[in-house]
Symmetry: C2
Subunit: 209 residues, 2 copies
Amino acid sequence: MAGRSDTKVLIMDIAEKAVLEKGFEATSIEEIVAGAEISRSGFFYHFNDKNALARALIERYIAAEDALFDEIFGRARDLNDDPLHAMLIGLKLLAERLDDLPAGHPGCVVAAAAYQDRLFDRGVRELNRQAILGWRARFRAMFEEIAAVYEPRAPIDLDALGDMVSGVVEGALVLQRVLGERQTVSQQILQFRTYVRLLFSAETAPRAA
Amino acid sequence: MAGRSDTKVLIMDIAEKAVLEKGFEATSIEEIVAGAEISRSGFFYHFNDKNALARALIERYIAAEDALFDEIFGRARDLNDDPLHAMLIGLKLLAERLDDLPAGHPGCVVAAAAYQDRLFDRGVRELNRQAILGWRARFRAMFEEIAAVYEPRAPIDLDALGDMVSGVVEGALVLQRVLGERQTVSQQILQFRTYVRLLFSAETAPRAA
DNA sequence: GGTCAACTGAACCCATGGTGCAGTAGGGTG
DNA sequence: CACCCTACTGCACCATGGGTTCAGTTGACC
């Protein structure tokens, strides 16, 4: 073959970095191909248009995020079999992980896409929707398990609680981006962690165990 | 004068609607001038470039948001002099207000701008920063007052708590935008409200009052 | 030696942001 | 009444950037 076999991945890496820094629209194909040292034609050989790039980027980002959640909350569950304590450990691990990321760190591709809606086709928007619904389901299940063991100290809406994980993270990413401070995301996650702790009052013993 | 005296405001109204629907980049000057029934030259007479439009839009949005907060939390304080209860009433009013907004409702201009960073100049970014810092200060002060009366049930970080109001709202706006559901924002605000209630345990009597 | 994947190069179209400038309608002021 | 100023219109023109078409090239593998 007359080229690297991983050009597509290289394009995506360069594009992702640029998109997270300055937004999708502001990232030109020109600068991507310059960075990847290929021609414009080469870019269009791999992606039919910019939309296809966006779709690939979002797909990959979502997969990575899912893998991160799997790893972190899986490890948390290994460390403590109690669902509430596993959640609290997981949130702490998540906060630490997001703190460790390099300066500026990745903003969330999902949110970036959300505010440039009409730029993308139905496919991209649907992907985005499925990702957020997936996270809702994931965390909802965890909170269900917790609620089965610990009596909540306030009436709870499991879907809203599940959404709150994504919501707090997305919101904090916006703040961190605008403020330029480094620990906004982890601080906000820890606030949510405190909420979970108070809601299920970890100090108390489980109700059935 | 050979034109309406409020053309600038008309341009901004049309632009704001379009920007909230599909993003800043996706909104062309062409469609704005078509909607306002003026010429392209007319647009550039009022705004030096698109950046100036963005700045004016963000300035106006922030002022409106501040006015909304003033009104809602002012009214809440009128209804109950206790700082905690005023906060809880205010959050409820805020949730209701955001629910009443027309279908799809305005996304947050601040967040929209945050993800299209390099598109804007330093001035716009600084405006954004000041808005969020302003909200932090506003809510921090309210939580300080609450903490002076109610013993928090967990160690608190007043700045993080203040930021959480903006953060939860911004994050929920992203979710609502992507999911297309109608009550995501109000639900998330009510979650935060529950957190505040649990954190300062409203059921208990104030510590000094 | 032929096929195929992975490109390059160049020409070209269109939309959009932006500039420059000359002209003009009409209200306000001297 | 003349004059100025504000708020525009119209037009010509430029650059950037997404996107298409297509003919040609290069190197790996069979």
